[in-house]
Symmetry: C2
Subunit: 481 residues, 2 copies
């Protein structure tokens, strides 16, 4: 391969500062995360992208089980009339549901919904399963595909079909259900920080932005590198809304029939979009070690020279024994091409070893999160050095994400400050009267929406950023995906 | 709970010898494996059933990855015309595919198939991805839900929607693709024996019974306790049939454009049906330790007495540390009720501990696979004893399965012997001319179908069991699910 080839990846990716949207699309395609499916808005999650999802799944599943949840699987088809039983719920989802009407040439007697979310079919089951206080709480999670027909789609961020998990719990009291809603929000926040190395804002959504059918929705909101916001996970306190619609009652200790209080919560393959847009750069993708399919790539240099392959294989085996996800690139591509390709694919650590290094009993280690930084490492220390560096990269990526969020979050006291904040691609923390009309006006004029209300609510007698009425809430405004 | 309650489980399950079909349905419902979904033929896989599926998935996924396969995810909707590109394929699947025709109130321009299997959409992608011999082999697996609208359905065995894995590989040569087909068959066979403790017959399906679109289909066939056969997994050599239909060509080393040779292979949640019908009895379910969600249940007796709970917890912690899936039943049910319930749920080992046992520093261990056998075990030996017993149960269940298969497999040389074999609920190994008309006749008169042709084909100049023409194959006939 020529020197020109070495640079071809970088040339093929749009400049992150000039065209962020194109940069995103290029990353998805060129790093083999996903491809477009034949039906508009669908995507094929390719092996490299799916391996990230598997790592996300494994970590979340462990957390859910540790907090007493079990998995189950509910059918993806249910009668359209289920959706119609909860008034807000049907209003939110009916326009975008895919409907199965035929089998082969035969028309079905009843139109079937392809699940956009599973509250209704799960509530129908819970109404049969839950009879007594002894049956509570029910804490079930499901890993599944769901379908929502969106007008504008982008791989991972908004696709017709996507993969997710949806937790559905039923409790005997409001307090317990509300606690579950907050516990799972905390779980998502901790997961985003610890595993995805993404700093997030947690809080309650406005009534306008909540889940269709919920009493309250909470979210984690992440800041992408272009300053736009991505809702990365939500938890809902459903109250007794669905319990009423589906008649989910239990006989309590006091011999009274009572409605259960419910929650639901979910994150999806959208998280992969969050990872791309929170950590990438002009060199390509940058993956946090905790979810990187390949944490370390070993690149042999002049591998035909005596000893090179043996030493690479030895390091490979030692790293593998230390539970590090490692590969050797033995392809016939040029070394420069390999450096660029694995950098573009976001592999956290590259280890290069050639004949000169062998003479010095060393390898050259390059980390993805600090561009152009290389260090020589004695082969005898390489396992420990790699382990430490993976931890350090994970922490450093989170710190960068935190700093980015802090730097681009401002307080806006009036429409002028809010306008400026949004135009500068910042998040704006504002005082707000709580009325939808002010949300609508800001959305119309600034294309910014309310994100969430932080738990720390010091209003200090402030007034609404929009109408100047007395403020009821502190809330974040931002442009969002 | 009264003594009467203690026996209520057993009374609620139909007698396995009198009504096997009802026994099966009772087991599925009473042991909380599954429930019916709202749409005809669909099922809810409840947490206890889903935990079995998770264990199956984990073991298979490990095996697939060890043999160089990677996971990906393809959309479940594709245009109806994809199905129509391979003539046999569309004939096999078109009548039973669910079609999405509307989104909300809007009719779609093109009818969409909900995948019954993914050959076509995956081949369409492969035709874009595979360009050079360097791109081969492609060895992708997918964990997904699929939909086939069947007239007669039963939980796990045949449901409108089911969960499965589907492997789809592309190779540069026929030899390599055929080897993959046989390798994966071997993998399924070993998995069935080692993990599910089910003995299976491996071989090639007849042309009539092969997968729609394949050149050859191979299967593992298991014998259920009623003597009927269950096809438990299939691997297909697809030849270049789909490569032609979807134009999947690569530039070979010799600079020629060539068609790829392909395989596909799958097992599904049907395996849970196989486990139920291969190992159960009148007490309920019996689960092989390798896939049992709970391998050991600890039952405290008179738990209010000093020391009982502490010792139970101590054993629980030790077993857990030894990576055994263990639970303590601390519910307020009677001890007798607990014994029966966990026996019915198929838990391999029960450990009961009461005040009398404490005085003797022992526990009482009961294994599920040998009814009414109990043994006292010194607490100091309990971890080792439990570990050994789990292994022994796994082996013993496989041996029972093997013996059952051997006992009920006979050689039938003519229609009279075949008739008797089928009437006695046996598998019959027959010589066969290879013509569909004989398969059809036997199916019509005996309701038995060809299962597969064993790899050991010693024909010895024999004649077809049905038409007496010269035999071309040895093949198994049996009634099947």
């Amino acid at each position: 391969m020529s020197k020109q080839d070495d640079k071809k990846f970088v040339q093929e990716i749009a400049d992150i500062n000039l065209d962020f949207a194109q940069w995103y699309t290029d990353i998805v395609k060129k790093t083999d995360l996903a491809d477009y499916g034949p039906v508009k808005g669908t995507m094929i999650i390719k092996p490299y992208g799916y391996a990230i999802w598997e790592n996300i799944q494994a970590e979340l599943d462990k957390r859910f089980k540790a907090s007493g949840h079990v998995n189950a699987y509910f059918p993806m088809f249910f009668p359209l009339q289920y959706l119609q039983r909860e008034a807000e719920h049907v209003e939110g989802f009916a326009p975008e549901v895919a409907l199965v009407t035929h089998v082969g040439e035969t028309e079905l007697a009843e139109k079937l919904v392809v699940r956009p979310t599973s509250e209704t079919i799960i509530c129908e089951a819970y109404s049969k399963w839950i009879k007594s206080y002894r049956d509570l709480p029910v804490k079930i999670n499901q890993w599944a595909n769901v379908v929502r027909w969106e007008k504008t789609t982008r791989p991972f961020l908004r696709t017709t079909e996507f993969l997710w998990q949806e937790g559905h719990t039923a409790h005997s009291s409001q307090i317990e259900a509300e606690q579950e809603t907050l516990d799972m929000l905390k779980e998502y926040e901790d997961f985003a920080k610890t595993t995805l190395a993404i700093s997030v804002l947690t809080g309650k959504k406005s009534q306008k932005e909540k889940f269709a059918g919920a009493v309250d929705t909470y979210s984690i909101e992440a800041m992408m590198l272009d300053g736009k916001c991505l809702q990365a996970g939500t938890t809902h306190y459903l109250g007794t809304n669905f319990a009423k619609a589906f008649d989910i009652k239990y006989l309590d200790r006091d011999n009274q029939q009572k409605l259960v209080h419910q929650t639901s919560w979910g994150v999806s393959t959208r998280l992969i979009g969050a990872i791309i847009m929170a950590h990438g750069d002009n060199r390509g993708l940058a993956l946090p070690p905790a979810i990187a399919p390949i944490q370390v790539i070993i690149i042999p240099i002049a591998s035909h020279k005596a000893g090179v392959n043996d030493v690479c294989l030895d390091i490979f085996n030692k790293l593998k024994s230390a539970n590090i996800r490692v590969q050797i690139d033995n392809s016939d591509k040029s070394t420069g091409y390999k450096y660029n390709e694995w950098e573009m694919k976001g592999v956290p650590i590259q280890i290069a070893i050639g004949p000169n290094d062998l003479e010095l009993s060393q390898a050259i280690i390059k980390r993805r999160d600090i561009i152009d930084q290389k260090q020589a490492c004695q082969l005898s220390n390489i396992i420990q050095t790699t382990q430490n560096m993976l931890q350090d990269i994970q922490q450093n990526m989170l710190q960068k994400s935190q700093k980015h969020l802090e730097k681009h979050t401002v307080i806006a006291n009036n429409m002028q400050e809010l306008t400026q904040a949004i135009q500068n691609n910042n998040f704006a923390l504002c005082s707000w009267c709580g009325q939808s009309k002010c949300e609508d006006k800001i959305k119309e004029t600034l294309q910014a929406t309310t994100r969430n209300m932080p738990f720390d609510q010091h209003l200090n007698n402030s007034n609404c950023v929009c109408c100047s009425d007395k403020a009821k809430h502190k809330i974040y405004f931002a442009k969002a995906y």
